[in-house]
């Protein structure tokens, strides 16, 4: 892949990208209160006295959220800080009841780590993670519910977020997209964030700057709250282009916070550096520093499942699955889970390659057509295994298997039942087939003669006749094997 460059009138520019991802932590209750975190509840039905910042209410840390952040750090090979501190980030907003957000500023719970990006064709790139800290989410202001008033829903207020800050290591919209894709995959694997960008449980702030290759870093702009991977890529493209145009016109980039408007395909200034908040961070005196021991970290480590990079390596090295198939399978945990269960039901690791092909071409094909996800698949891994088993032991041909699978997909019936009902069992009984072959040879002396005269392609004609006679149930391999010596005489 050639390097990504923005062509300006005066030459090429390189784009430098860093991402701050806000990932909602999977936990039953909020970071500092016992209120529930479920998405989609009635407005203000999941709000504790602490979340609403009633007078005299105090936060108490939810240990599960700390554990989830530590697990995330471990999955990114990051430094785990056994001592971390919660700070107050002070600013006023109607959906921020306390008048401050409890966050981690100087001492985050997780330090430096890395994420390996998959850039296609087996290419990879390492991107550094600067830190992960825990913080509270704010509530939601709703400006469209009343002509004069803004309504506030505090259900989200106090929900735990991990802010995962990358280093400015990315150089193209594709790399940024690959970073988010990979991060999302990892978070979903380990179950610390559902990665659902539509529901806002994962959002990205994108830092973009441009420079001529080799020059020092340019002034960056931060594009706030971009909520899909596609929009992140688009936002980077248009923002980088905007900055290049300014620079080429002899202007300077103002360090500012911007918003991406996907409808207009542009970024707009939200607030300038001068308007930036002075957050007056200081350690929250209501909370003690968070301290834990090695045993806590070890337990968190042991609770991690196999990570996608390890899984892919195992699929390729131990199971003989192709690079491409392995990448596709591990990209979504559900796919890998399906595949592994299928393999387990097959009980035959030698079939891994075939099984991976079946999942990716046959199963994904029908799922795509039906607009279903793998977790909605009408055919279970167990049923899939039965079908593959029938092919493997020669009961049905690969061709027949496709028809059987389509019916399984439609009806949810088991493969063996369909094969039985429709009499699709392959005829591999040599005695029976021999009789049929003998009859056909006897009935087509002309073709036999031509074949023997050297027109050996005619074997296809004989195979076709046998298949016709058996209604397609003959095992083509067996037919070939029996036909040849008889035709050769």
């Amino acid at each position: 892949m050639s390097e990504y460059r923005i062509q300006g009138a005066t030459g090429d520019f390189e784009v430098v990208i860093g991402l701050e991802v806000h990932a909602q932590v999977i936990s039953k209750s909020k970071l500092f209160s016992g209120a529930a975190t479920e998405f989609g509840a009635e407005p203000n039905s999941q709000v504790s006295l602490v979340d609403a910042a009633m007078p005299g209410m105090l936060p108490t840390i939810n240990g599960e959220c700390v554990r989830q952040a530590v697990r995330t750090g471990l999955a990114l090979g990051a430094q785990i800080n056994k001592f971390s501190v919660f700070d107050r980030k002070n600013y006023f907003y109607a959906d921020l009841p306390q008048g401050y957000q409890i966050s981690q500023f100087k001492h985050p719970v997780v330090g430096e780590g890395t994420i390996l990006l998959d850039l296609g064709d087996g290419k990879t790139k390492e991107v550094g993670v600067e830190r992960i800290h825990l913080e509270q989410d704010a509530g939601k202001s709703m400006h469209d519910q009343h002509p004069q008033f803004t309504y506030v829903d505090l259900n989200r207020s106090g929900v735990a977020l991990m802010e995962i800050v990358s280093k400015p290591d990315m150089r193209s919209p594709e790399e940024a997209g690959a970073y988010l894709t990979k991060l999302r995959t990892i978070l979903r694997y380990i179950g610390t964030c559902d990665g659902n960008m539509e529901q806002g449980s994962m959002r990205a702030d994108v830092n973009v700057s441009v420079r001529r290759p080799g020059e020092p870093l340019g002034t960056r702009c931060e594009i706030k709250n971009v909520n899909s991977i596609r929009f992140v890529r688009q936002a980077i493209e248009v923002e980088a282009r905007r900055q290049v145009d300014i620079l080429e016109d002899g202007g300077e980039i103002d360090q500012e916070t911007r918003l991406f408007d996907p409808n207009k395909g542009e970024t707009r200034s939200m607030r300038s550096k001068e308007e930036a908040h002075d957050y007056r961070y200081f350690p929250d005196p209501d909370l003690l520093p968070v301290e834990f021991d090695d045993a806590f970290v070890d337990a968190a480590r042991e609770s991690l499942p196999e990570l996608p990079d390890d899984k892919r390596k195992r699929f390729v090295d131990d199971l003989g699955v192709s690079d491409y198939n392995a990448s596709v399978l591990v990209a979504e945990k559900e796919n890998a889970d399906y595949f592994e269960e299928l393999l387990a039901k097959l009980g035959n690791a030698d079939m891994a390659k075939k099984a991976s092909n079946w999942v990716i071409s046959d199963l994904f094909g029908l799922l795509n057509k039906a607009g279903k996800t793998i977790s909605e698949s009408p055919v279970s891994p167990e049923q899939g295994a039965e079908l593959l088993g029938l092919i493997e032991d020669g009961t049905i041909s690969g061709r027949t298997a496709k028809d059987v699978f389509e019916e399984m997909f439609e009806t949810g019936k088991n493969a063996a039942v369909i094969v039985d009902e429709k009499g699709l069992k392959q005829v591999s009984d040599t005695g029976e087939l021999e009789k049929i072959i003998d009859t056909i040879i006897a009935a087509n002396p002309g073709q036999v003669e031509q074949y023997r005269a050297g027109k050996t392609k005619l074997i296809g004609f004989f195979v076709g006749q046998v298949m016709k006679e058996t209604g397609g149930a003959a095992n083509p391999g067996v037919v070939n094997k029996l036909l040849q010596p008889k035709l050769d005489g």
Binding site: M54, P55, G56, M57, L58, N90, Y93, G99, Y100, D286
Partner: protein, 491 residues
């Protein structure tokens, strides 16, 4: 029995146990006293019906053999403590009409023990003040007068001390951030104790400065203080800074025996310009210690002079953030200027809702936390705070307890220091260092000045050693043997 309101908690408890007194009688007497106490402006909310209900419940408890130290004892509650269904405003207009849906842990502990609530007590707005003159509901008068001149009760727990000194409550909850229990106790001849930071839960206590705020009690005797403090103390999982430690039987510590105990006298507390009477009282206290068989040792607390400036950075910094939640959005006051937006609402609400002293501290706190000033003020103050703490830790290697005056003066007249914040802040010069170090401390009545106004001595203990503080306090109380009482001019 002539006047039930003159009883100590310990005396009432014993009479209740013997069946010679009912909680209802005791409560009725106090409700009458509270009603006749309006001239002092100590109560801002009276809850007589609730009190009678609670008294009846207490009587039932006593009959069932479940009496505890505070069962049936009528008390007043500083308005800083949230009380379910009873207006709680921390004496700030910004919490106008606020009725909590919840109970503070400190008051819940009292109710669980069967105590009776008489009402909510006046205080300096958000506990910011040393004379109770910053309350939105107006100042509290000290039951003790300088001749015919009214004096301040001290602050911020002005209503707490006035009600207890004036026999309108047997005890009162209070809170201490830099001296808000001890200084007013000294001004009113009451016993005030602030336990170690973390001994009492801060849950449901309107926050001023979270790292300093600590609940405590005001009573008319050391024994009463021990009884009431035990009731409000204890670990609370809802407050991360409360400590999971067993609460001792504080009353059992009152043995009167301090023989061989080492009492530290901090040399830095001899302030230039301090009234001779205060200095003399301190010497008297030292003599009492010696007479009781204690050994008096000179100690040094070298960073004492930095305590006030440190306090007036740390406390406002935390307050500026703690008070950000009073924004007019969810509860309390809301001012909406015509055609105004969110920011206009914030500004109008906070301008109208906060008093001058609160605004002053919010501004100081915002300043010291601002970018470019944080290191020079807040961070430095935190470092000095550690040094002050270390001073005490070193001193306590040489002594078991520290004895000082509580305040540099007796109660003063209204308006005397209102326009001079620095003079007002100086009131806390002896109490603030222990607050910064989180230590337990008391103020025990030890004498009267030439005007007949009470003066207190401060006893400071090691962390978690409230027992020694109480024991030494009681020795002073006995030695001082004060019989004078306010002349009840309001009756």
């Amino acid at each position: 029995m002539t006047d039930l309101t003159k009883l100590k908690i310990s005396e009432a408890r014993d009479l209740l146990a013997k069946g010679e007194l009912s909680a209802r009688e005791l409560t009725e007497a106090h409700i009458t006293a509270v009603e006749g106490f309006d001239a002092l402006n100590a109560y801002i909310v009276q809850t007589p019906e609730k009190a009678l209900e609670m008294a009846d419940a207490a009587d039932a408890k006593i009959k069932a053999g479940e009496q505890k130290g505070m069962t049936g004892i009528p008390v007043g509650i500083k308005d800083l403590f949230c009380t379910k269904g009873v207006e709680t405003t921390a004496c700030s207009h910004i919490l106008n009409g606020f009725k909590p849906e919840y109970e503070s842990t400190v008051t819940q502990n009292l109710w669980d023990d069967g105590a009776v609530m008489l009402g909510k007590l006046n205080m300096d707005e958000f506990a910011m003040g040393s004379s109770n003159e910053t309350s939105y509901y107006g100042p509290v008068k000290n039951p003790w007068r300088k001749g015919d001149v009214d004096t301040v009760p001290g602050g911020s727990s002005g209503g707490s001390v006035a009600s207890v000194a004036g026999f309108a409550a047997m005890g009162a909850t209070a809170s201490d951030t830099g001296g808000s229990i001890r200084q007013p106790a000294s001004f009113t001849g009451t016993f005030g104790i602030k336990p170690t930071y973390g001994r009492c839960s801060r849950y449901g206590m309107v926050a001023f400065a979270s790292s300093l705020d600590q609940a405590g009690t005001i009573t008319r005797s050391v024994r009463d203080g021990a009884i009431m403090l035990e009731s409000i103390s204890g670990f609370d999982p809802k407050d991360s800074t409360s400590i999971d430690m067993a609460v001792p039987n504080f009353e059992a510590a009152l043995t009167g025996d301090i023989r061989g105990m080492k009492v530290g006298i901090p040399q830095e507390y001899h302030l230039a310009g301090m009234p001779g009477e205060i200095e003399a009282l301190w010497h008297k206290g030292i003599e009492w210690m010696k007479e009781a068989g204690a050994e008096v040792v000179d100690i040094n607390l070298p960073h004492t002079k930095y305590a006030l400036p440190t306090y007036y950075i740390v406390a406002p910094a935390e307050a500026s953030s703690n008070l950000a939640r009073y924004d007019g959005v969810r509860y309390g006051l809301r001012e909406t200027p015509e055609n105004g937006g969110l920011i206009d609402m914030y500004e109008a609400t906070r301008a109208a809702g906060f008093g001058d002293e609160v605004k002053r501290r919010i501004m100081i706190g915002t300043y010291v936390l601002s970018a470019g000033y944080y290191d020079a003020y807040y961070l430095k103050a935190q470092k000095v705070r550690q040094l002050i703490s270390d001073d005490f830790a070193r001193a306590f290697e040489q002594c078991d307890v520290i004895l000082t005056p509580t305040a540099p003066s007796a109660a003063f007249a209204f308006g005397e220091k209102t326009d001079d914040p620095l003079a007002m802040y100086l009131n806390d010069v002896f109490t603030v260092p222990a607050s910064l170090a989180g230590l337990p401390g008391s103020s025990v009545p030890a004498g009267l000045d030439a005007d007949g106004l009470p003066l207190g001595l401060q006893v400071l203990g090691k962390p978690w050693d409230e027992e020694t503080v109480l024991k030494v306090s009681e020795v002073i109380e006995k030695a001082a043997a004060i019989t004078a009482a306010p002349n009840e001019w309001w009756r």
